[in-house]
């Protein structure tokens, strides 16, 4: 204590270095310990999430074994729970969302780094980032009250009449146009992950050394040729990381999907059909499950599966986006 209060004096009149060091140690030790403890706390948090979800899901895993992952029956009355449909819905909506979002995100990043006039880059960039800040539930309401009716009345009938006529591939775009369903959910997800992918792409595009681009321009390349021939090859690993980040976000999105996916536990051949995702079934059925029931355990088990999938995807994203020496 006395050492700590003596500190200000020690700072004004420099004492021998050794004494100053020893006077600092109690405060230093406490502060360093607090910081380290906070760091370890983050690790415990992640460990706790894994363990708690696994413990919660254990009765379901024990009851159904591997069949829990592959089973497609979800029947609370017969106490049979399979996660197959939800896992399928989660993966299909997320991948479809990426197919829609990646080209758009590339366009936005290309525009922001190469095409936009200087005064427009800031405002447009901020607006795109604000798209990422809009809460999930707002996307859900927008999707349900505005997008779904438009999809049902004009977009989906049009797609059924055009793409739906193509043999085999067209099967994906047939059936009644409900408005809600897998396809609409993917579209909403695409808009939600677009800003994350676009922001990553923009940031890595800006890291390309100017001389590389200028040498290509000097050879007479057009802007598009510079981006395709210099910028994209230079940044391809990070671009893949940005896409994985978008995938990780899309997999676990809950509220928006719950509003627009139609919530049916079946795999339909058409993308316009209803379905569900892990997150949406957990959000919807949780309220109807009793404490200690097999259903609640199945929902927690679903949470565990979702955690494993998103962890792998986000870890891959992090690995691809790691700062590299020399870049």
């Amino acid at each position: 204590m006395s050492q700590a209060t003596a500190l200000p004096d020690a700072m004004v009149t420099p004492p021998p270095a050794r004494q100053g060091k020893s006077a600092a140690s109690p405060g230093d030790a406490i502060f360093a310990a607090a910081c380290t403890a906070a760091g370890v706390f983050v690790l415990l948090l992640l460990g706790g999430i894994i363990v708690e979800l696994f413990i919660g899901g254990w009765p379901a895993f024990r009851e159904f074994g591997l069949g829990f992952v592959t089973g497609t029956v979800w029947n609370p009355v017969d106490q049979v729970f399979g996660a197959g449909v939800s896992i399928y819905g989660t993966l299909v909506t997320a991948v479809l969302a990426l197919l829609l979002a990646v080209p758009l995100a590339f366009g936005v990043a290309f525009y922001l780094t190469e095409l936009a006039p200087g005064w427009l880059r800031g405002p447009v960039g901020t607006a795109i980032e604000l798209l990422a800040a809009v809460p999930s539930i707002i996307y859900g309401m927008w999707g349900f009250f505005l997008l779904a009716p438009i999809m049902a009345s004009s977009v989906q009938p049009w797609m059924i009449d055009t793409i739906g006529e193509i043999p085999i591939f067209g099967e994906l775009f047939q059936g009644p146009a409900f408005g809600t369903g897998i396809f609409t959910a993917s579209l909403v997800l695409a808009i939600m992950v677009l800003p994350f992918i676009a922001a990553t792409m923009r940031d890595v595009f800006q890291q390309v050394p100017q001389v590389y681009k200028e040498s290509a321009y000097g050879l007479g390349a057009t802007t598009w040729e510079v981006v395709r021939g210099v910028v994209l090859p230079y940044t391809r690993v990070s671009v893949a990381g940005g896409i994985m980040l978008g995938l990780g976000r899309a997999l676990g999105e809950t509220m928006a999907v719950t509003f627009v996916i139609g919530n049916a536990n079946r795999i339909s051949t058409s993308l316009f059909g209803p379905g569900n995702t892990i997150a949406s079934i957990v959000a919807l059925e949780f309220g109807e499950s009793e404490l200690g029931s097999l259903k609640l355990s199945a929902l927690l088990g679903l949470g565990f599966i979702l955690f494993v999938i998103s962890f792998l995807v986000l870890a891959a994203s992090r690995f691809l986006l790691r700062p590299r020496i020399g870049s």
Binding site: L7, M11, P14, A23, A24, G27, D28, I30, F31, A34, C35, T36, A37, A38, G39, V40, V42, L43, I49, E52, L53, G56, F106, V108, F110, Y111, V124, T126, I128, L130, A133, V134, P135, S136, I137, I138, G140, M141, W142, F145, L146, L194, T222, T223, W224, E225, G248, G252, E253, T254, M255, F259, A283, F286, G303, F307, S310, L314, A315, R318
Partner: protein, 293 residues
């Protein structure tokens, strides 16, 4: 025109011109498509904001802020939900901010290259993007099941867990921007490390850290999924955090999914309030960050 191209000067020239035109056309096409993609992306934002303003203002009314939930068809407002959200977000921020700042400080000042530091940084970044619904399930298992019921406190804990990685990210980034010469100057005066960090590093990075906190608040203010499993929601006015607790996002969800016209209208008003708050905080955070330079 030289001797070597004497064979077919006209044809070569025509081919070159045609190729050049084709390259320019492709370039123009890509440019137009990219501009269209940007306009489309901005269009989504405008469409969302327009819908919120249009439907939200129609339902906006003073009783929204002065009365709590009532049965459909008999008026009522969002008072309980607004107050509930404010209480939960405020406490969650107070809980999560110090932890996030300490972790960020640990990463930037103590563990820049250490193995443990790298693992913490990795895990924190995973938590930043992890599905928030899983945080809700985790807190449900941790606090709701053992303590016998949904409670405001569980919601507060879930929100603060979501806030921590946001603060960690910005704190570390901002502390790393401080030049090492400044740290050396402070250390050279004989100050202990903790004083260097608290009085000099934190102070120089103040605006950046504040930005992180504002972004964190914006993030948790609109979170719905984790609250479904923790504070559950409450139709009555409540300040007792040990019982199910009302919040604005949960109220929006419940009202928007109901079949009653007046409840759906209230959901839109709540959605407008939430979005205005979240986007306002985001813009404010950016303004705060700009004032540092």
């Amino acid at each position: 025109m030289s001797a070597s191209s004497i064979g077919a000067p006209g044809r070569d020239r025509r081919t070159a011109l045609a190729l050049g035109r084709r390259r320019k056309r492709v370039d123009l096409l890509v440019r137009v498509l990219c501009c269209a993609a940007t306009v489309l992306a901005l269009g989504f934002l405008v469409s969302i904001l327009w819908l919120l303003t249009y439907r939200g203002f129609a339902a906006m009314d003073l009783s929204l802020f002065t009365t709590s939930t009532r049965p459909p068809g008999s008026g009522g407002g969002l008072l309980n939900a607004i107050v509930g959200s404010l209480i939960q977000v405020a406490i969650a921020t107070a809980l999560g901010t110090p932890i996030g700042m300490l972790v960020g400080t640990y990463l930037a000042e103590y563990a820049r290259t250490s193995q443990l530091g790298n693992v913490v940084r990795f895990v924190s970044d995973i938590l930043l993007s992890a599905p928030s619904i899983l945080i809700g399930l985790f807190v449900y298992q941790l606090l709701v099941v053992p303590f016998g019921g949904f409670s405001g406190w569980a919601g507060v804990v879930a929100l603060s867990i979501i806030l921590v990685p946001v603060v960690v990210r910005t704190t570390e980034d901002m502390l790393r921007l401080i030049p090492d010469t400044l740290r050396e100057a402070v250390a050279g005066l004989g100050a202990p490390k903790w004083k260097m960090i608290v009085l000099v590093c934190w102070r120089s990075a103040l605006n950046g850290i504040l930005t992180g906190i504002l972004l964190g608040i914006a993030r948790i203010a609109g979170e719905t999924a984790p609250l479904l499993f923790t504070s559950l929601g409450n139709n009555a006015f409540s300040t007792d955090l040990s019982r199910p607790f009302p919040s604005l996002p949960i109220a929006i969800y419940a009202y928007a999914a109901s079949p009653y016209e007046d409840w759906i209208a209230m959901a839109w008003a709540g959605a407008l309030l939430t979005t205005a708050l979240v986007l306002g905080l985001n813009v404010l955070a950016r303004a705060v960050l700009k004032t540092r330079s």
